[in-house]
Structures are given as C-alpha cells and as structure tokens.
C-alpha cells in the first residue's frame, strides 16, 4: 500500500506537505542561476516568495549572516522591492509555477497589513496570504509586532476585512506565550498559523568582539532551533482548531515526519535549502518511505500523532 502525501490548509490542497519558508528560496533567481528547470520541475507543494512590504526596503546594514552552532543568524531586515514591483514584475512569472502561490506580506504598522492584503485581494495568482508579523529584524530591539497579541489581532482583522483569501499568520517564538498570540490571531480571523519565524540571537566577531551583524542582533534559524519550533507546533496545534504550518530547523525527511506528528499539516524548509540546494526534491519521496515503514498511509493519520 502506498502512503498518500496529499494534505490541505483549509481549502488549499497541496500535493505533499513540504513547502519553502519565506525568504529562503527565490525561484526566479534560482531558475536563472541553476541548471535545474525549476518552473516545470518545482520541488515544493506551494511557493512562498520573500516577504514584501508596502514600500521597498533596502534592508539592514551588512554583514547580515553568520553561522552559529547548527544554526544561522540573519538580519536581512526584509529587503524587498515593495509590493507594487512584486505584483507587476514577479507575479506574472510566478503564475507559471505548477503550484499555488502563498504571498507573504509584512508591515511597519498594523494598517500596512490591510493595505497589502487589499492589493493582493484581486490577484488570482495568489492562493493565500501569509502575514509575517514576526520578523525580528525590523525593530532594533527585535520586538516584532507579533510579540503583542492585540497588535497581531489588529493586523489580522485589517487583512481579513480586505480579502477572503486564505489568511496564514506567521508567529514569532520570541514571546512568553505563543498560544495566546495564536489565539488572538485566530479570533481576528486567521485561517492558518505558521510557526516559527526566527529566534532572536546575537553573535560577536571572534576577533574584534563587536557584534558581527551590522544590525547588532538577528534571527536564529536551522537545526539549533528545531526543539523550540517543535514545541511551538505542538502547543499551537493542540490549542487551536486551525491548520498549522510547521518550520524551524527542518533538515531531513525524519524532521518533516516529526513536525507533522507534532501537529503540523504542512512543513516549510528554510535554512536547510542553503545547506543542500536539492534537498526539497528528495524530501517527499523519503517522507513517504518513512511513513510506510511505520504503517502510516496518510498525512491525516500522522498529523498530531505525538
């Protein structure tokens, strides 16, 4: 018997549960630079472009990256060409992808979320909108809007009012109570929760002993944060009756299996794509094998098994 990898996020059907994490995979650039034909042979079940904002952002001062033990610190600072350019230049090209597009948006204040959602509301190429309320690299103190349940709820309400598209809210782990923020998002109309964005952290240059990152601190991703992410998925999926997209340190098919068992309906790959640029293409098959040797034949059976 062959395990089915089909899964869904509310009304959004996915051929398998593995998608990319926003900001870590650029299909247009990758298709240009790599030999692989990514538009016809796309490894993920949905495509999440880099977060866009109302106005273009140049991003934070470099250096923006530093490897730590089993982790990566970044302080990109949501560098992007703005939602206009995204809609005009990228969306038409992205529409050629054989999978749904989940646009990711962020704002400098709650009203930006409403404005951005409104601009995407009429775009048929966009299957769902992810509200990134959790980037730690915008404010210097690493305090994202999503640290506050009320501001989160306000941002979600404004987006909800602007569109009937599937609304995913991506939360930060840098809070005392992630479940409270998730509940606030749900009450305000979120259809799905993504956890986790990066964990705030910092590194010093080994020689100068000054902060390595131009932005002083940054967000930690990769295998180092997997235990934090798994716990967030477990808690949020138990507390809420919404589908959860799990991410944070997923590097192997075994990790995907664990995030699904913890309660996720889909799993996103970020940092691991940097480590192994062809990882995504292998994962779905390996996941099926791991499910079958355990006698698990559907994602539904697996999801929340823990």
């Amino acid at each position: 018997m062959k395990a089915s990898l089909h899964t869904s996020l509310g009304p959004l059907n996915l051929g398998h549960p593995i998608i990319n994490a926003s900001g870590t995979f650029d299909v247009i650039e990758a298709d240009r630079i790599l030999e692989a034909d990514l538009f016809s042979d796309f490894p993920f079940a949905a495509y999440v472009p880099k977060t866009v904002t109302l106005k273009p952002r140049t991003g934070n001062e470099p250096p923006r990256l530093y490897e730590t033990a089993a982790g990566l610190l970044n302080s990109i600072g949501l560098a992007n060409r703005g939602i206009e350019n995204f809609i005009v230049e990228d969306l038409p090209r992205l529409a050629e992808l054989p999978v749904p597009i989940i646009a990711s948006i962020a704002g400098e204040n709650t009203s930006d979320y409403g404005s951005c959602a409104e601009m995407l509301a009429g775009r048929d190429e966009v299957a769902a909108i992810e509200l990134n309320v959790s980037c730690p690299n915008v404010e210097l103190d690493g305090r994202a809007l999503g640290c506050d349940p009320e501001r989160t709820a306000r941002a979600v309400s404004l987006a909800r009012a602007a569109t009937s598209k599937l609304l995913i809210v991506k939360l930060t782990p840098n809070v005392t109570d992630i479940v409270a923020v998730a509940q606030a998002a749900a009450a305000a109309g979120a259809d799905c929760i993504s956890v986790i964005n990066t964990v705030h952290g910092m590194a010093l240059d080994p020689w100068t002993l000054k902060p390595v990152l131009g932005h002083t601190s940054g967000g930690l991703s990769g295998p180092a944060v997997k235990p934090v992410a798994l716990r967030a998925v477990y808690l949020v999926s138990r507390a809420l009756d919404l589908p959860v997209i799990g991410m944070g340190g997923v590097t192997t098919a075994q990790d995907v299996l664990e995030f699904l068992a913890a309660g996720a309906s889909a799993v996103a790959i970020g940092t691991a794509s940097f480590r192994d640029p062809v990882l995504a293409a292998r994962l779905a098959g390996e996941l099926r094998d791991l499910m079958e040797i355990r006698g698990i034949y559907s994602i539904g059976q697996l999801s929340g098994m823990a």
Partner: protein
C-alpha cells in the same frame, strides 16, 4: 560585471589531492562540469559531504585553478567552515554548488595588473593564466602578512609574481598597495595608447587594468589609486553567504547604487561601483 548565464549545479566530488601550502591547504577534486564551465573569479559553495551539522552551511570558495577534470581550491582555515574544509583528505567527498557569480571580465585589451592580498590570492592563479592566454601583458603582485602565507606564491608557477610581506619574511617588505602607484604608471607608460600622463580615460581598452582580490582595506586603497590614474579596476568582494544564488539577500555589498548581492551580482564589481 556582465552575467554570462552559466548554469550552476550541485556536485558530489571526490578529493584527489590535499596538501599544505604554507599556512593554507590546497585541495583538488574531480568535478568535470565545473572544470569545463568555470571562469576566473567565479566561486563555489563548498562543504564536506555528509550528514554532520558542524559546519551547517557551505562556504564560498574561489576557483583557484583548473586542470583537465580537476578543480583546485586553496583554503585558509580561519573558522568553523574553512577549518572543516582544510581537514579534508584524499578519498573524502565534497559537496560543491557552482560555478557561481560573475567572475572577472577579461574582454579588455590593455596590460593587466593583478593584485592579491592574503587568501585573496587564491582565485588569481586561474585569472593570471587566463589573461596570459588571451595575450594580455600581465604583472602580478601578491601581498601577505607572513612567509607562511607567502609561500602560496609558488602556486603561480609559470608566472612572474612580485611578493610583498608585512614582516619582510619573504619578497619585499610592506603592503602590496604601496608600490602600486609606481607600477601602474610604468605599465600605463608602456601601454600602446601612451596617454598616461593625462591619465588614460576610463574605458580606454589599451589602458592598464587592475584585477584585485583581498581584504576590504586593500581593495579600497587600490580603488583609490586606480581612480587617481584613471585605470579600470575590477575587485572581488568578500561577504558571508548562505544561499550563493541570490535568494537570501544576505551577502550584500554597499555600492553607489545601494546594496548589491555579492553572490549573484558579484563577487566581482567595478571598483568605482563600491561605496568604500
């Protein structure tokens, strides 16, 4: 620099040579496709193949030289990633993504002044050979801190190389940027355009052109000298990288037009583009 759309791929490559070259380590591996495609100044994202999470990510490493199916890289072990690479031995395997980046633009015709600092010398052996093959007059200056690094100059086998060390332990003493003004003037004078006294106009293909790779401070100094002499300079910039393919926005360099990604819009930039 112009992008010539060479497709990059991921390869699993056996190491066939691993030997110390002073403070550095020379590693050769079999990578037919990379050897066939790579141009001077391009780089590879490299890590030891396998499951170990330490280090987690590949590191950008310049193509030092090519020899039929072999690709050679020169490693300075400074941290988690490069120490792991320098530990590779014959029979170990490398995970290699590449070739990546734009590489140097070799289409000029004037004399070439190639300048390297420290491990920045690594990609220049290939460059010097390619320039010479194009029939360009080449002078090469390499600067190092110590003799331990400077022995890497022996890798520029068939090329005349002037070596400078900060501690005078090998070659001339001093920074490689110091003699540059004189040498540049000399080369411009020798150039067929012969318009040096009025400082050869930028874009004049017969004027001397500088190609440089090394620490930021060195590149900044060279850039200043080049612009004083109206010489073109191409500089290969360093940055921490994660994706290597333009996706993560992590490797940006500050240019006069804003941030540019070292991996996909560089690593080679016209010196005048950089906001030093």
């Amino acid at each position: 620099m112009e992008d010539q759309h060479i497709p990059a791929s991921l390869f699993d490559c056996p190491v066939v040579e691993s030997r110390p070259v002073g403070a550095y380590r020379l590693i050769s591996f079999v990578a037919r496709e990379v050897a066939a495609l790579a141009r001077p100044g391009q780089f590879l994202m490299v890590r030891a193949a396998g499951q170990s999470l330490d280090p987690l990510l590949p590191r950008p490493i310049g193509v030092h030289e090519l020899e039929s199916d072999l690709v050679k890289i020169l490693i300075e072990p400074v941290g988690r990633g490069t120490i792991s690479l320098a530990g590779l031995r014959v029979g170990d395997r490398l995970s290699v993504l590449g070739p990546l980046g734009n590489g140097f633009d070799l289409t000029g015709e004037g004399p070439a002044l190639v300048v390297g600092g420290g491990i920045g010398a690594a990609p220049l052996a290939f460059l010097v050979r390619a320039l010479a093959q194009r029939g360009r007059e080449v002078r090469c200056l390499l600067g190092f801190k110590t003799r331990g690094q400077a022995v890497a100059a022996e890798l520029f086998r068939n090329q005349k190389v002037d070596v400078y060390t900060e501690d005078a332990s090998m070659g001339e003493m001093g920074l490689v940027s110091e003699p540059l003004t004189g040498i540049l003037a000399e080369m411009q004078a020798g150039g067929p355009a012969n318009a040096i006294s009025t400082a050869g106009a930028v874009g004049d293909l017969r004027a001397a052109e500088i190609f440089a790779c090394g620490p930021d401070a060195m590149l900044a100094a060279i850039s200043g000298i080049a612009s004083d002499h109206g010489a073109n300079a191409q500089v290969s910039m360093a940055a921490h990288m994660a994706c290597g393919v333009g996706a993560c926005q992590g490797c940006v360099i500050r240019t006069v037009d804003g941030y540019r990604r070292a991996c996909s819009e560089g690593p080679v930039f016209a010196a005048g583009e950089i906001a030093w």
